[in-house]
């Protein structure tokens, strides 16, 4: 990395994230003056244009790629139209120990005087909660499931290659064609379509205007600059911003800057989950890179410098913080943009190219929290590629994570995508599969599979909140077989799945009707052709996901009950329930028996792995294929982010010997410490799940660095990954750190600030994690070889 990049990186890493009320104030001004004058989509688009016209723009001293979400780097705007922070929320954010956000007094004042008075009662969050039934609220508060859209807009959106061959004027031409084709005589939705398409045109104009404001500022700065080199750079910036995103990019530089303006547009318009994502960056940049290298207008070093200047922009964007209870406990700055490398092209050919390797070098050198990155590993990709990635993984940053590109294609095909669209798909967020540029695949919430077992064991009653949450599926003391218990659990799962789906319907429609995303719709196929918004089913594919959490814990619970209550009758159901309610107080012998004398998931033991498969199938049956409100279908994911910690906190002691409040297993990983036979056994157990039926699974493996030493270590990692993917699995991520170091970092965070660990689908600064999560990461089995 050169000096410029080093300085830009340093500024980004050192900056303390802050909150700015600028967006909230501008939006409030706009809405006060205009609400009621236009249809919702047009109003939203005009609001977006108002923001693009008036928000503070920023060009940093040595920057080559320009544009910020907030008025400055590391300053995040807020989205009061979705969820309006209270003064208390802002104070908590300012003062909490972990992942705090500086909140200046003027922001507090603006919220008190302008923002809160207008948006309280008008935000989506304020409006949607009263619409949900009491049973939904009860289950939600008990921790049976969470809801993604209570704080942020639907997201998980990824760009495809069209942003590099078209400009916004080209999209506007398509919008005009769509408008001219509207059939007012026969189409009952023609009016809605007209409003949507009009909104899209306004939104495209807004983004062009935003870029041109940067061109103007760059020229002003160029005039003031006394340094001829910087003057030339600023003039170049002005030329680039004048051209893109209005027009298709002509070179490598413009391609990167164009994406960045699209990115800013999407995350300024709304606050979707996982921000926005360039998808297969190496595929998209390759034509520019190749052409310019041949013509001599670009060399490898300057391409790398541009990439690194662009890379650091992601790290300037801490995620907009949440409100309510989660403001106190939730913690990460990462906004989950996840860049894909490798994989295959639309025609099925190997997509790895020189830019893929260049980007691996960038990842290695930059070593920053954001953006997340991954390799999509196809059987068609060369071993050189996975080995180059393994060398970066080995350093222990937790990047890149590794996905089975062929598995992703198979998942998307099963969901009904065309083979080309499936191949152009990949991964966003943590581990979620989607067809890039053509799909609105919305994660709707985590689903606590272990809590539901707890409810089943109490005949639908929740001992923590003291409420009857589920149906009365029978007193488990009366069950004479394991199958009776299992089917009771299945009934409870069906019940809560339906409750969750009903809630989702209301959330999805609230967004579809009140918070359309006209700018995002411009760049997502087929919103323009359908004249329909991204949030309302305009995309070619419209998927809703529910994410199952705790499958490892659940399988071990069922295995323990099966073995000790039904088969060996070591303990009666009555006694087991009594011990669980006492959190094993005085029952250490039973707890130890449950822990040590029961087959555990993660050891390639068919007896318990079959139970895992049965649980998975039941959850899948309950949800997969159900219609959502946007014309698409529901599917499942198996990932927790950090929710297994929260879900564990609200779940009592469990039959696997877990004490009340302790974290559940994460992703599809075994219970922390339960896998004792090494990594191949974990892979084998995990692969018994039918990953193809999901839209993503998350498997965490922790290796100490000495296991990955030398060329041999890289060979072994390569073989492990390839073998796991041969079994049609989805994803694996490697934590390469030793426990010693983690303990040191926990004791002395000041000197280990830069320690990045893989958490669950993403990496985070270890010292920013809660003590509970730190402990959990330390406890995860370290796979030592003997």
């Amino acid at each position: 990395m050169n000096e410029r990049v080093r300085r830009l990186r340093e500024q980004s890493v050192q900056a303390r994230p802050r909150i700015s009320a600028e967006r909230a104030q501008l939006l409030t001004q706009f809405y006060r003056a205009n609400e009621g004058k236009h249809s919702v989509p047009v109003l939203r688009a005009m609001a977006f244009r108002y923001l693009c016209e008036h928000k503070t723009i920023y060009i940093g001293e040595e920057e080559l790629i320009v544009g910020e979400r907030g008025p400055q780097p590391s300053v995040t705007p807020t989205f009061p139209e979705l969820t309006c922070h209270s003064i208390e929320d802002l104070q908590i954010l300012n003062s909490r120990e972990k992942t705090s956000y500086g909140v200046p007094p003027e922001a507090i004042n603006a919220y008190r005087d302008e923002v809160i008075p207008y948006w309280r009662g008008r935000s989506i969050r304020d409006r949607v909660f009263p619409l949900l039934p009491d049973s939904w609220h009860d289950a939600y508060e008990a921790g049976v499931f969470t809801e993604f859209m209570e704080q942020r807009a639907p997201g998980h959106t990824v760009a495809d290659g069209k942003l590099y061959t078209k400009g916004l004027v080209d999209f506007q031409r398509e919008i005009s064609e769509s408008l001219s084709c509207l059939d007012y005589l026969n189409d009952t939705e023609a009016f809605e379509k007209r409003e949507q398409l009009t909104a899209m045109t306004i939104a495209a104009d807004a983004a062009i205007l935003f870029a041109k404001r940067h061109a103007v500022l760059a020229r002003e700065l160029a005039e003031q600059s006394t340094d001829p080199t910087r003057k030339a750079e600023l003039e170049r910036i002005a030329t680039v911003c004048d051209h893109v995103p209005e027009n298709a990019p002509r070179n490598f530089y413009e391609a990167l800057q164009a994406y960045w303006f699209y990115h800013l547009g999407v995350i300024t318009e709304l606050n979707g989950w996982d921000s926005f994502n360039p998808g297969h960056l190496d595929h998209h940049l390759w034509p520019f890179y190749q052409r310019e290298l041949a013509s001599g207008t670009l060399d490898r070093d300057s391409a790398k410098e541009l990439l690194e200047c662009w890379w650091v922009k992601f790290n300037n964007h801490p995620a907009p913080p949440k409100v309510g209870v989660t403001a106190a406990e939730s913690g990460t700055y990462t906004d989950f943009a996840n860049i894909n490398l490798g994989g295959i092209r639309r025609d099925g050919s190997d997509a790895v190219n020189d830019v893929s390797y260049l980007l691996l070098e960038v990842i290695d050198e930059m070593h920053v929290l954001q953006p997340s990155n991954n390799i999509q590993l196809s059987r068609k990709n060369p071993d050189r590629f996975v080995k180059a990635a393994a060398k970066v993984i080995r350093k222990g940053y937790g990047f890149p994570s590794v996905f089975n590109a062929d598995g992703v294609v198979e998942q998307l095909l099963r969901q009904g995508k065309s083979v080309e669209d499936a191949r152009e798909g990949g991964t966003s967020g943590c581990v979620e599969s989607g067809a890039f540029g053509k799909e609105a695949y919305v994660l709707t919430g985590y689903f606590n599979l272990v809590k539901i077992l707890e409810l089943t064991l109490h005949n639908g009653f929740d001992p923590r909140t003291k409420k009857q949450l589920g149906p009365t599926t029978g007193d488990p003391r009366s069950f004479t077989t394991f199958d009776e218990l299992f089917s009771a659990w299945q009934q409870q799962v069906d019940h809560f799945a339906e409750l969750k789906l009903k809630g989702n319907y209301i959330f999805e429609q609230m967004y579809a009707r009140n918070a359309p995303a006209p700018f995002l719709s411009v760049i997502t196929d087929d919103c323009i052709r359908k004249g329909k918004d991204y949030n309302a089913g305009g995309a070619r594919y419209n998927t809703s996901y529910i994410q199952g959490v705790g499958i490892g814990s659940l399988s071990d619970c069922f295995a323990a009950i099966d073995m000790h209550v039904y088969q060996n009758q070591t303990v009666s159901m009555d006694e087991l329930l009594a011990q669980l309610s006492r959190d094993f107080d005085g029952g250490e012998k039973l707890r130890q028996t449950l822990l040590n004398k029961t087959p555990k998931y993660g050891n390639d033991c068919d007896e318990v792995d079959r139970i895992m498969v049965r649980c998975f199938d039941a959850f899948f049956q309950s949800i997969d294929g159900r219609p959502n409100s946007r014309g698409g279908e529901y599917h499942i994911d198996m990932l927790p982010t950090t929710c297994h910690v929260y879900f564990g906190a609200v779940t009592g002691a469990s039959p696997d010997g877990r004490r009340a409040g302790m974290p559940l297993s994460e992703g599809i990983s075994p219970v922390q410490g339960a896998d004792r036979i090494g990594p191949t056994a974990v892979f084998k157990s995990a692969a018994k799940m039918d990953h193809v039926k999901t839209g993503g699974t998350l498997l965490n493996m922790k290796f100490s660095p000495d296991l990955l030493k030398g060329d041999q270590g890289i060979e072994h990692m390569t073989h492990l990954i390839r073998s796991y993917f041969k079994m049609d699995s989805h994803h694996v991520q490697f934590n390469v750190v030793d426990v010693e170091l983690l303990r040191k970092a926990q004791a002395n965070p000041e000197s280990h600030r830069d320690l990045i660990v893989r958490v669950a689908g993403y990496s985070d600064y270890f010292c920013d994690l809660s003590k509970a999560l730190q402990d959990e990461i330390i406890a995860r089995t370290e796979h030592e070889s003997f």
Binding site: E588, K589, L590, Q592, T593, N596, K597, D604, I677, G678, P679, T680, A681, K684, L707, K709, G710, Q712, E715, H716, H719, L720, R722, S723, K726, M727, H783, S785, F786
Partner: protein, 315 residues
């Protein structure tokens, strides 16, 4: 040798994702029974051919289950008696206490496997062997350490051969020349231990003469077997210049002196294991060899143009 008579052997560990005992990703089968008595043995539980009981005092919660279930009335909680057994001679190794112990503070070491049962375990990682060019390593104890072990080994090697797995045999070579000749064609790689070239010292620290061991290595070499020579480096016992020179001379005198020589630095894991096992450890307070000691030990081999690899995988 009649394989039908020896349908089973006692296996005390099946180590999956074993990456130091041959090429690729492997499963290493540790068979009980070893005729040698090396002072530094890091698998003390492996010498005896029978099963044994391991005890982990730190896991014991004093629940007294062992006391209640022991048919001979000899088992008792570890915090009562650190040695674990009131009268070890009465213990019949029936395993009831280990089965019932809720914390696995008592663990039975060694289970009888027949060939089919063992192959079922080995087959579990087939996908990893295929991908990595790995396979199975038979270790111990010593898989050639008794007639029974050797017969069982031959059946397993045949079964692995049918499946196309790479087969390695980790042995000290203290067996008959007929056994060596029977095993050689079924084995893709021998991991062959050489400890001390001086017979008197060998008798002292290993418990037997080294003559058979050296002869068998020559037999294997004559049969054109693929061999990795493994020399444990035990400071003060065999890492002296004289022994290293003699070992290097011997390797260089073989028909195929291109065999790689692995120097395996002594480590202390063994001393911890001895703690759980009812035997003292004869090498108290011995430090692992330093980097310099390893480099010095490698010199005689390098001087004879032999390929030397240290146990950490570095050439």
């Amino acid at each position: 040798m009649n394989n039908a008579n020896v349908a089973s052997a006692i296996v005390f560990n099946i180590q999956r994702y074993s990456i130091h005992d041959g090429p690729g990703i492997r499963t290493t089968i540790f068979m009980k029974g070893c005729p040698l008595d090396c002072w530094w043995c890091h698998n003390p539980e492996s010498r005896d051919r029978k099963a044994a009981i391991f005890m982990f005092a730190d896991r014991c919660i004093g629940c007294e289950t062992c006391l209640k279930v022991c048919p001979e009335d000899v088992a008792e909680p570890l915090d009562w008696n650190p040695a674990g057994l009131a009268d070890p001679l009465k213990c019949t190794l029936c395993g009831t206490c280990a089965d019932q112990c809720p914390t696995d503070a008592r663990t039975i070491v060694g289970n009888a496997y027949d060939v089919d049962a063992l192959m079922r375990e080995i087959d579990k990682d087939q996908v990893f062997y295929d991908e990595s060019g790995g396979g199975v390593t038979f270790s111990g104890g010593d898989p050639l350490g008794s007639r029974q072990n050797a017969a069982f080994l031959i059946s397993c090697l045949q079964a692995c051969g049918e499946r196309g797995y790479h087969r390695a045999v980790d042995t000290a070579g203290f067996t008959t020349s007929q056994t060596i000749q029977a095993v050689a064609p079924l084995t893709d790689l021998f991991l062959y231990d050489l400890k001390l070239l001086d017979d008197e010292r060998h008798r002292k620290y290993v418990g037997v003469s080294n003559q058979t061991i050296l002869d068998n290595l020559r037999v294997l070499s004559d049969l054109d077997a693929n061999i990795w020579i493994r020399v444990p480096l035990i400071p003060g016992i065999n890492d002296d210049q004289a022994n290293m020179e003699a070992t290097a001379d011997f390797v260089a005198s073989l028909d195929r002196p291109s065999y790689p020589v692995y120097l395996l630095p002594y480590h202390r894991i063994g001393s911890d294991k001895h703690r759980h096992f009812k035997e003292g450890y004869r090498l108290k307070d011995l430090d692992p060899p330093s980097k310099e000691q390893i480099v010095r030990a490698a010199e005689p081999f390098l001087a004879r143009n032999l390929k030397v690899i240290d146990g950490n995988g570095d050439e």
